[in-house]
Each structure stands twice: as structure tokens, then as C-alpha cells.
């Protein structure tokens, strides 16, 4: 964006916009369109999952028992709370409370960190047990279940790509935190915080579906 930034969220909008409001709305619409592409991206994975469920219902039912719903549930709670702290960070930015923006973003970052730690524990447990994708699958109790490795292919790809989104989000949070601490945002300019919020809530949204689909099928 070809505009300059000054103190406390006072900022000249780019010359091709009528005013700052219009620029904000345009950015936000662009963000929503990006989120549409994200839904389509994930929908391929959800489709793969649906095919598994339709063609191998017994296999999916047997395999999901190896996922720990307590871990999944904990991560659901952690991500929801992080959405809340993110929403508070956006409101604080709109009110020009730089210190609060930084604190709430830090809280969000910590939640994201907890999420990744839990994921790490889950992954290492699965790798250790041989609950792995496709032909790598070597978990003895389920070896007799036909095509069981496919469930873990879908599990690792879906949660892996979601986890990648979390990691990218963590990077973005750090960046926006730094900008907030420089007092860049205020009532007239908080676009980056808002966009980060939309992205982060979307990551939460995906997990809201992944949790019951992967951990709670019955």
C-alpha cells in the first residue's frame, strides 16, 4: 500500500480511495474473498474425508478410537479462547489502546503456542505407535482393518495443514504486536489488526469442524 504511517493511527489513505473508510472496506472485502479461497482449499480435504466415511465407515470408526478426544477437546477450548482474545485485541485497537492490543495479542499467541504443543504431543505419540499414513501404518491392533492407513493420511494432512495455518498466524500476530507497540493503530486506522482477526477466526472455524469429524465420529 502506497500510504504513509504516522503516530497513533493517523494515516493517509492510498490515493485511489476516496477516504480511509473506503480503503478499509476494500481491504476487508479482499480478505473475505481470500477466506473463500481458503474454504475451497479445505473443502478438497473435507471431501476426501467424506469419501472415506462413505466407503469405509467401519474403518473410520475403528481408527478414530486411536485419537485422544481429550487432547482434541483441550485444543478446541484453547483455540476458542484465542478467538476471544483476538476479538478483544481488535476492539482495543479500535479504541486506540495500544498497550491492551499488545497484551491481548500476546494472550492469543500463547494460546496458539499451547495448541501447537498439544498437537506436537499428539503427533509424536502417533509416530511412536506407528499410527501413520498409508503404507507406513504399523500399529499392530489395527493392522487387520482394511485401508486403515488412509484415515491417518487424511488425519495428518488435514491437521497438518491446519497446524500450518496456526503457525503462519503466530508469525502474523508477532508482526502486528510489534506494529501495535509502535502505536500505529487507532480509531481511524486498525486495518491490519482487523484482517489478522479475520484470518485467526477462520483458523478457529476450521478446527470447529475438524474436532467432531476426526475425534468424535461414532
Amino acid at each position: 500500500m502506497g500510504s504513509t504511517t504516522s503516530v497513533a493511527g493517523q494515516r493517509q489513505h492510498a490515493h485511489h480511495f476516496k477516504n480511509g473508510r473506503e480503503e478499509f472496506e476494500a481491504c476487508k472485502q479482499g480478505m473475505w474473498i481470500f477466506l473463500v479461497t481458503e474454504v475451497l482449499f479445505f473443502s478438497g480435504l473435507f471431501l476426501a474425508y467424506a469419501i472415506l466415511r462413505v466407503f469405509y465407515p467401519e474403518m473410520v470408526a475403528a481408527a478414530h478410537h486411536e485419537l485422544d478426544w481429550k487432547m482434541g477437546g483441550l485444543n478446541t477450548v484453547v483455540l476458542l479462547i484465542s478467538s476471544w482474545t483476538m476479538a478483544r485485541a481488535v476492539s482495543a485497537a479500535q479504541r486506540g489502546q495500544a498497550q491492551k492490543v499488545v497484551s491481548f495479542l500476546l494472550a492469543t499467541f500463547i494460546c496458539a503456542g499451547i495448541f501447537m504443543c498439544v498437537k506436537y504431543m499428539e503427533y509424536s505419540h502417533k509416530i511412536h505407535e506407528g499410527l501413520l499414513p498409508g503404507s507406513l501404518f504399523s500399529f499392530k491392533d489395527l493392522l487387520s482393518v482394511d485401508k486403515v492407513g488412509l484415515f491417518f493420511s487424511v488425519y495428518f494432512v488435514m491437521t497438518g495443514i491446519h497446524g500450518l495455518h496456526v503457525l503462519i498466524g503466530m508469525g502474523l500476530i508477532l508482526w502486528i504486536m510489534k506494529r501495535a507497540s509502535r502505536n500505529e493503530f487507532g480509531p481511524n486506522y486498525f486495518t491490519p489488526v482487523e484482517m489478522l482477526g479475520l484470518y485467526w477466526h477462520f483458523v478457529d472455524l476450521v478446527w470447529i469442524y475438524l474436532f467432531p469429524l476426526l475425534y468424535l465420529v461414532s
Partner: protein, 260 residues
């Protein structure tokens, strides 16, 4: 920028108390999701879980993401993604669930061959004129491209193959052997460039084995009970011995999806 200021409407700021109520609602719904999963609602489990997840998703979108507080444009934009997702699902399942033909590792087995229906042969490992006739039909459809019409190993596709397809009219040079159970084994597992036909119902594989034996010199070698046991057949029990895969292998389905 003062002359533009009257264009700049007021941004909605989410109040702290609304944010708090929202997160409490979301957490309660998560508890409900987990609780419901532990109760058996039969077929309802899945729709209920998806319904609760969707309620949560709507709350996140409308309040945290603010769709509720702005004009409809972004809601419409985001909804289109769900519409396209629906089309994606409907077209894929409309296709996958209505295929008469079954795909096996990139090769198509026509419906009339894989839909053998209820078993016609109670003990298919026993040679009979009927099962040989059945095998003849299968052979013409599945094997002649490589092995030739008369089974001499001179089908149109044979030229490009190394090793060459077996010549069934001679008794020598068989790697796995000419007994019924041995040919059955070859068909189940494949042999080098000879593809596996394990996806055919086992009685079809037996029928092919019996037919292939008629193409060469008469062989007195018969299957012993031990030979039959090697390919999973209990001679005292009726049934095909070894099962066929009736469903579409998923790898094949995914392959097809990724190609399109």
C-alpha cells in the same frame, strides 16, 4: 482529509461484555458437542454434531468476525464458498455412487463381469463344463489382449511386453505352475508384468484357471487338499475361498478425482 470525513461512517466496536458472552456460549457448545458424542443417538449422532458445529461457526462468523454488524456484501461473498463446496460434494458423490463400473488400479472391470451375483458355483475349485464355459467368457474379455485368442501368448499387446505373456498351449515354461490352485494364485497376485486380478470374485478366478488349463496339453496333476489350503480354500466348505473386493478401492477413487 477533513473534507472526506463525513464519508467515514462509524466503525462498530465489539463491546467487552458481548465478547465475553460469545466466548461463554462457544465454550458451552463445545461441552455439548463432547457430551453428545458420548451418548448414542444412533444415526442422529453425526447430524447433531454437525449442527452444533455449525451453530458455533455462525456465532464466530457473525460476532467475532463481525458479519452481523456490516452490510450483507461480505456475508454473500463468504456464502458463495459454501455453495461451491456443496456443488463439489454433490458432483463428486453423484459420480462415485452411481458408477456401474468398478475401477481397479486404473483398469476398468465392466459391470457384467464384477457383478457376478450370488455364487453359481458352490465349490468353484472343482472343474466342471459349466465353470469352464464361464471362464471362457471371462478369458475373451480380460486376457486375450496379451495372451491371444487361442492363449498362445500372441495377443496384440504382447509385442511390448518382456517377459512375454505365457503360451498356454504348451506345458513347459510355467513359473508358478499349471495346477488350478497355482493359476488361481497367479491371478490373485499377478506376476511381473502380468497384472493381478485379485479384484475379480474368486469364483471367476477359478473359472479362468480351469479354462486356461483346457488350452494346453491335458495335465493329470490335480490339486491336493494342501494345494487348496495354500490359496485359502477349505475343500469341505462351500464358497469361493478368498474374497473379492467389492467396493471401489479408495486409491483408485482418489486417483480418478485428482485426474479430473
Amino acid at each position: 482529509m477533513s473534507h472526506h470525513d463525513h464519508h467515514e461512517g462509524h466503525h462498530h466496536v465489539l463491546s467487552d461484555s458481548t465478547a465475553l458472552k460469545t466466548i461463554l456460549a462457544l465454550l458451552s457448545l463445545t461441552v455439548i458437542t463432547v457430551a453428545i458424542a458420548r451418548v448414542d443417538l444412533g444415526v442422529l449422532n453425526f447430524p447433531v454434531a454437525m449442527f452444533v458445529a455449525s451453530v458455533k461457526a455462525v456465532i464466530v462468523c457473525s460476532i467475532f468476525m463481525g458479519l452481523k454488524y456490516e452490510n450483507r456484501e461480505n456475508t454473500v461473498i463468504f456464502s458463495t464458498s459454501l455453495l461451491f463446496m456443496l456443488i463439489f460434494f454433490i458432483l463428486t458423490f453423484g459420480d462415485l455412487l452411481t458408477r456401474g463400473d468398478v475401477y481397479v488400479k486404473g483398469q476398468i472391470i465392466p459391470a457384467e463381469l464384477q457383478a457376478a451375483g450370488p455364487s453359481k458355483f458352490s465349490k468353484p475349485w472343482i472343474e466342471s463344463p459349466e465353470i469352464i464355459a464361464h471362464g471362457k467368457g471371462l478369458f475373451a474379455a480380460q486376457c486375450t489382449s496379451c495372451h491371444g485368442d487361442g492363449g498362445a501368448g500372441n495377443g496384440p499387446a504382447a509385442a511390448g511386453l518382456n517377459p512375454k505373456p505365457r503360451n498356454f498351449t504348451v506345458g513347459e515354461g510355467w513359473k508358478n505352475g499349471r495346477k488350478g490352485s497355482q493359476i488361481f494364485g497367479t491371478l490373485t497376485k499377478g506376476l511381473n508384468t502380468m497384472p493381478a486380478f485379485g479384484s475379480l470374485p474368486s469364483e471367476d478366478r477359478w473359472a479362468l484357471a480351469h479354462y486356461v488349463r483346457t488350452l494346453g496339453p491335458h495335465s493329470a496333476e490335480k490339486d491336493s487338499d494342501a494345494d487348496l489350503a495354500k490359496v485359502g480354500v477349505d475343500p469341505n466348505q462351500e464358497g469361493g475361498g478368498g474374497s473379492a473386493e467389492k467396493s471401489i478401492p479408495l486409491e483408485a477413487a482418489i486417483e480418478i478425482l485428482s485426474e479430473s
